[in-house]
Every structure is written in C-alpha cells, then in structure tokens.
Amino acid sequence: MLEIKGLRVKLEEEDKEILKGVDLTVEPGRVHAIMGPNGSGKSTLSYVLSGREGYEVTDGSATLDGEDLLDLEPEERAALGLFLAFQYPVEIPGVGNMTFLRTAVNAQRKARGKEEMNATDFLKLIRAKAKDLKIDAEMLKRPVNVGFSGGEKKRNEILQMAMLEPKMCILDETDSGLDVDAMKLVADGVNALRDAGRGFLVITHYQRLLDHIKPDVVHIMSDGRIIKSGGPELAIEVEENGYADIKAEVTA
C-alpha cells in the first residue's frame, strides 16, 4: 500500500537534510508505529508524504498503491486516500467546521467520480460519528479548531478521518495532550476503521496508545533514518529504557 524507498529530504530554504534515506512499507490491513526522539524527522516524513511545501526530496520515492505521491498536489494525494492527522491541527478562523468537512467530503467524492452527498445525509453521518467521539454538536458549528482545547483538536482530526474514510491513515502524535478517556475514544475511533484494506502509520512517543491500537510493526526513527524495526515488544523496550540502548546497538 504505502511504499517509501530511500527517501531523502532536505529543507528547501536551508541546506539541512532531515530525512536521510527512509525505507518503509505499510501493507493493507496493517498498523505500523513509528517512535523516535524529538527532532528525528517523524513529522517531516508525514508532511512530505502529504505534500506540504518547504521540503525538497533529493532522492528516493514514495508511492501509494503504486502511484507516485511526490509529484502530486496535496488534494490529489488526499483523493488517492492518504490522510494525515496533524500533530498540530491548524486553526482557521471564519471557516465553519461543518462547511469545511462537507466541502472536503464532497471534493473527495467528486475526485473519485462519486455523487456529492446531500446536506441531510451528511448531517446524519457527521452527527453519528461526532457522537461516537463525544464531540459536541456545538463544536461542529464553530470555526475549524478555533478555541478548541488540545484534546478537542485531536478528536476533531479523528472525526475528519472517520468522515473521509481514507485508505492510508497517518497519525502524528494524536495521543499527545489527550487525557486517559480521550485516548481511549481516539483509539476506539481508529480501531473502528481498521479493516483489511486500510493501512495505518501511527507516530507516537508513548506505549500507552499502542496498548489500545495494537501495532503489527514498530519502527524506531533516529536522525532521519529508521534504525530498527520489530514487533510490539520494541515499544515496551523504548518505554522502559529510552532510545540510548537502541542507538548504541545500531551504531555498534
């Protein structure tokens, strides 16, 4: 499904290489987790995959179901089924959350040759999904993320994911800033979407989220590379010992 090969990325503005050859494949139906120290390049990877400006790919490739992602506009990547739950969801004053989501859902339907969803069906659907995530109907009327608490923003990301039903979901620290109950809600939201055709890439610092969303594979990213991959036990090792041992082991 998602195939990243030898991906090297530098900042457009500076001569600073951030991703130094990333190899990663996520198969349909599988959940991969990425852990790694602050500044190791996890968010950069998620941004480059979703098409944010400011980065230059100097080598390597990234494809989704065989389609080259790196040449596409962000909206085209979304239409292919890529979704990023942002580490820092953006506030957009003046754009209502509901309008935003409806425009997004219908834009993607249109791109996939499907008919637009009418207002009534849309309302029904979003109300149901919001309820599952314990998102207040009032929040849907407010401008996108404006005045939302940290946890509300993260839940709003998951709501968008649930509405858009992407094929490949990247979650960048969606657990950060969530209380225990909210983390459970978010994990339930993710688990509800798990199916044989859908892949997940879950970026996190904490093993706790992975208790709820059982990953198939855990990768450790350090200094722009994936330095180790393994099963869920790798996350436990990190939780207990930090990254020092793993780094030492790799450089040895």
Binding site: E53, P74, P89, V95, V144
Partner: protein, 437 residues
C-alpha cells in the same frame, strides 16, 4: 522660515480656490423653493470657502481626487451580465434611478405604511419642508474637523434623490436601485432619511449608478430609532464613485451600515457618524474585492459626544493584480464622552505582491473612562491553513476561496438580517468563482 511655509500654504489654498471657481463656472444651483435654495446656497458658500479636494489635502494623499472633481466624466462602459441583481429575492419597495435620474415607471409607488417617501426634486419646490432640518445640515456638521468638499458640492447641485421620513415600523426595506446605462453619465444624488423616535427602517442600495457618482446620504436617527443599511456597489469595472454617509444618532438609537464593493475603478466611501445621545450604537462595515485597476477607499470618522455609546468599524479588503485599498478611520472621543466603547479594525488580504493596502487609523481621545482599540493588518493567505484544507482533499482554488470568505466573514457578520447577509455572501462567492474561471 515659518513665514515661508505660511505663504506657501496660502498660495496653495489660493490656487485651489481659483481652480474651484473655475470648476463652478457656468454651474447654476437647481431651482427650488425657499428651504432648498437656502440649503443649497449655504452649501455652495461652504464649498467656495474650502475649495474642491486636491492631492495635497491630508485625507486625499492615498486617493487622487481629480477624476471625481473634474468637469469631464471619464468614460465607463456599461457592464453587461445576465445574473439576477442582488436583493432580487427580498420583498422590498423598489425605487429606481437610471444614470442618477429617478425612473417612476420602473419604481414601485412610493407608498409604504409608516414611511413617507418623496422625490427630492418634488420636495424642493415647496417653501418649507421637514427635510430642512437635515438636508445639508448633517453634511455641514460633518465638515469639521475634516473638510468633505465633494459632499458640499453634492448638497449644492444634487437635483434628485429621495427624502424618507419614518414615523413607524417600516414593514419592508426601501431599496434604491441604481442603474447605469450611459457610458458618460454623471450622477449626483442626495438622500435624506429621518427616523422619528423609536422607529425602524432598513435601506438597501445597489447598482453602479453611473459612469461617475457623487452621492450623499444623510441619516438623522432620533432617540430609540434604528437604521439598517446594506449596499452593494455595482460591478462595472470603470465606474467611479465618491459617496458620503452622514449619520447623527440620538439616545439609545442604532445604526448598522454595511457596504459591499466589487470592481469599480475608483470608489471613495466616506462615513461620518456623530453620537449626540447616550447609549447609542453604530456599526459600520465594509467588504471589498478588487482585481487589477481598482482603488477602494474607506474614510470613516466617528465622533463620540455622548456617554456610553458603542462604535464599531470593520473593514476588509481582498486585493489582487495590483489593486489598491485605502482605509482612513478615526475615532474622536470628546470631553465628557465617558464609557465610550470604540473599536476599529481594518484588514487587507493581499493575494499577490503587486497589490497594496494603505491605512491610516487614528484615535483622538479627550475622556478618561473609555475603551478604544484599533488594529490594521495586511497579509497574504495563511499557507498553513491552506495546506490543511488541501490535505483534506479541497482543491487549491476552492480552498483559497474558503479562506478568503473566512477573511471577509467578520465584516459580513455585521449584517443583522440573515437573508441579506446571504445575498451578500452569494455575491462574494460568485465573484471569487468567476475569478477562477
């Protein structure tokens, strides 16, 4: 040196007055009864004293007045389109002007319960009229401390317009429709609205009016009355307009005025508001969209001369392809105007680097217990927000439009009536969609 500066200034003023006399050559005040003639003569005298606006005037530095002043009217093509005019779906009393002349055939009968409506040219024939307390009076009050010569010119020479006296609750809006048919028409319109105590009126205005328009609207709002005003200036690309609103507010009265401007080569909208009674509120707002050869100027002056009044200015401009936006807004709080709440916001969204926004926000406060704030910003589309929208599958064009509408929303939100707000939003969406082709 001081003497030199003095004499230089005197020379400039002299030249200005000479130019004004030259411009007035051959112009005769319209014929009328006693009240109108007196008002017109007084206006002409004011004008002769101050002179027509010139480029060196403090409030004409950003906007060149010459094409609004000169005798020859620059040609403005009539913009043909087949869209339904704005406010089409709203039940209202329609009063149509074609190139600045009242058109009875296309207008509704001037009958509306609780409202007296007369044509200025008819009312001016009488020797006495209620309008004498307002016509040219609010304009004259608005000449100080900043001169507004175009408005004095208007009072002197306007032959057409409507006089509206509201004595009850108007059951539907009065709608002034300005059609533009001749490419060299020069329209001078003067309207007077007097709202008696506790009354209510919504006034709508739309259309390009003429190749060149000079329009004054004087609104006298008595205690407890409330006046809503929504206008959409016409889309004709080459039209020019210099307009003034002079509003005087009594105690516990309310004024809400919103202006939408799309296109037009030159638009100068002045709004002069004076609070004379306590606990009143005035909100003036504007949204403008300009592309290319476009200059839009909002010049606002709010005088707080009463206790506990609230004023709010919200002006938003979207500019592209070298369009220019100007904002000059002032809040003056006079001694004793305690508990004044004054707010002013002017912002531009520059869609490219060729466009510019020139702003002159001013506060002058002579009372100590007041809350006044102003902010003026100018910026590009928020790239982070744009990426966020696009990452959800919304194409760049529609995503930019969403962000643009969001930017304008704060101004549009000043329209209280939801259906009117919707009409305006539809215009904005249409304009943006057309730019995308």
């Amino acid at each position: 040196m001081n003497a030199q500066v003095q004499s230089k200034r005197a020379q400039l003023k002299q030249a200005k007055l000479a130019a004004t006399e030259e411009r007035l050559q051959g112009l005769a005040l319209p014929e009328g009864g006693v009240w109108a003639t007196e008002a017109r003569q007084a206006a002409l005298a004011r004008l002769r004293e101050m002179g027509l606006p010139g480029r060196r005037d403090e409030y004409w530095k950003f906007t060149r007045p010459d094409t609004l002043v000169q005798e020859e009217v620059p040609v403005a093509e009539v913009f043909a389109h087949d869209e339904a005019p704005v406010f089409d779906g709203i039940d209202r009393l329609k009063i149509v002007f074609v190139d600045g002349v009242f058109n009875a055939a296309e207008s509704d009968p001037l009958d509306l319960a609780g409202v007296e409506i007369e044509r200025l040219s008819d009312a001016a024939k009488a020797d006495i009229h209620w309008a004498r307390e307002v016509f040219g009076v609010l304009e004259a009050r608005g000449q100080s401390p900043v001169e507004r010569p175009l408005a004095a010119f208007n009072t002197g020479f306007a032959e057409d317009g409507v006089l509206i006296r509201v004595t009850g609750r108007a059951e539907k809006p009065v709608s002034l429709i300005y059609r533009h048919e001749s490419e060299s028409s020069d329209a001078i319109l003067h309207h007077v609205v007097r709202l008696e105590k506790g009354t209510n009126l919504t006034l709508l205005e739309n259309g390009p009016a003429a190749a060149r328009l000079n329009k004054v609207l004087e609104v006298d709002i008595a205690d407890g009355a409330s006046f809503h005003h929504v206008r959409a200036q016409g889309r004709d690309h080459q039209r020019r307009a210099g307009t003034h609103i002079f509003a005087r507010l009594g105690a516990e009265s309310a004024l809400k005025s919103f202006t939408l401007t799309v296109n037009g080569k030159l638009t100068r909208n002045e709004c002069v508001v004076e609070f004379t009674g306590d606990d009143a509120m005035a909100h003036v707002a504007g949204a403008c969209l300009g592309d290319g050869d476009f200059l839009h100027d909002d010049t606002v002056f709010i005088t707080h001369d009463a206790v506990a009044c609230e004023s709010r200015q919200v002006f938003k401009k979207v500019l592209r392809n070298g369009a220019t936006g100007v904002f000059q807004g002032k809040i003056l709080v006079k001694p004793g105007a305690q508990k004044t709440d004054g707010y002013q916001k002017s912002q531009s969204l520059l869609l490219d680097e060729d466009s510019q926004f020139l702003a002159k926000p001013e506060l002058e406060i002579y009372a100590d217990d007041v809350a006044c704030s102003h902010g003026s910003t100018s910026g590009a589309i928020d790239e982070e927000g744009l990426f966020y929208l696009r990452s959800r599958g919304i194409e760049e064009g529609p995503a930019t439009d969403l962000m643009t509408l969001a930017f304008l929303a704060e101004a549009v939100d000043e329209i209280e009536d939801e259906r009117l707000a919707e009409e305006i939003t539809m215009r904005l969406e249409g304009w943006l969609a057309r730019r995308r082709g």
